[in-house]
Symmetry: C2
Subunit: 173 residues, 2 copies
């Protein structure tokens, strides 16, 4: 059964650099009315990056919502009109300095479907070779980490890996 | 290296029923200033729910940001002051009608650390028994689905399972 919530009103709260926020009024399947706070996000790409068959390259960066460093697979937001594969190859080189001879689409996830339309496209990058020397774009500060694949289950259980796109990407290994 | 972004300004954009939006001005490690659009979310709980050792109970519900039904493990938001375990047991019964004699904490994920502070605590529920008969809270409309665990990898690859907390929870199986 498809429980459609019909939009009967919409108010723009904020249009930002990365996200927009809209307040929707909806009609529920039982005829009652309710509000939905919806964040629009451009979406992004995350790249399972293989240094070799047993080792992933991950990035650690400061995440302001948590006021601390978070360990993630390389990732980035889609620019306007950019296709996910182009975005993924750009972010891979920006964040790790590597290009890939074997770059493949794995699947996609939605990060928080209750309130946000963000989609993250997941790719794998294998057969890496050196691209640019400097990593991070101008205002991005990154530590690179090499993580053995046989450690990731333990790192998830211990909380050392907690980022959902990163944890999700491991289901494609 | 810890690349702290120091908050040097904060403006509240929206205080809503579920989320708040703040615009922060930060000082980057290179001394430059930048803005961060930060969504505050109460966080939630998701429950890997075992009908039997080979079968999960999942829920399908309409997700307004995508304008369609999405298949997820049972989950819900933390109410103010509620501890995650209480929330998980409450949501399990509200969404599936079941209680569990074997309810265990598995770990946690952060859904979108670039802009949102949402944390989802993941539990497993085993040894189910019948609780309430009606499912869904008053304004919640849910289809229950039984999914065989040996199908989940294929369902992720095909896009039939795409919700990040759901995909992430399978790394705890």
């Amino acid at each position: 059964m498809n429980f459609v919530e019909k939009t009967i009103g919409k108010k723009s709260i904020y249009e930002g650099k990365i996200i927009n926020l809209n307040l929707l009024k909806v009609k529920l399947p039982n005829g009652k009315e309710s509000n939905r706070e919806i964040v629009n996000h451009p979406g992004g790409v995350a790249i399972l990056t293989y240094k070799d068959q047993d080792t992933l390259i991950m990035v650690e960066q400061f995440r302001k919502p948590f006021e601390r460093m978070v360990l993630e697979i390389p990732a980035g937001k889609l620019e306007k009109g950019e296709d996910p594969e182009t975005c993924g190859k750009r972010e891979l080189e920006e964040e790790t300095g590597y290009k890939s001879k074997n770059f493949n689409y794995l699947g996609k996830i939605i990060t928080s479907p209750g309130f946000c339309d963000e989609i993250i496209y997941i790719y794998e990058a294998r057969d890496l070779y050196k691209g640019r020397d400097d990593i991070g774009d101008e205002d991005e500060f990154i530590n690179l980490k090499e993580i053995k694949i046989d450690r990731i289950k333990d790192m998830i259980k211990s909380g050392d890996i907690e980022d959902a796109k990163t944890v999700s990407s491991f289901m494609f290994i």
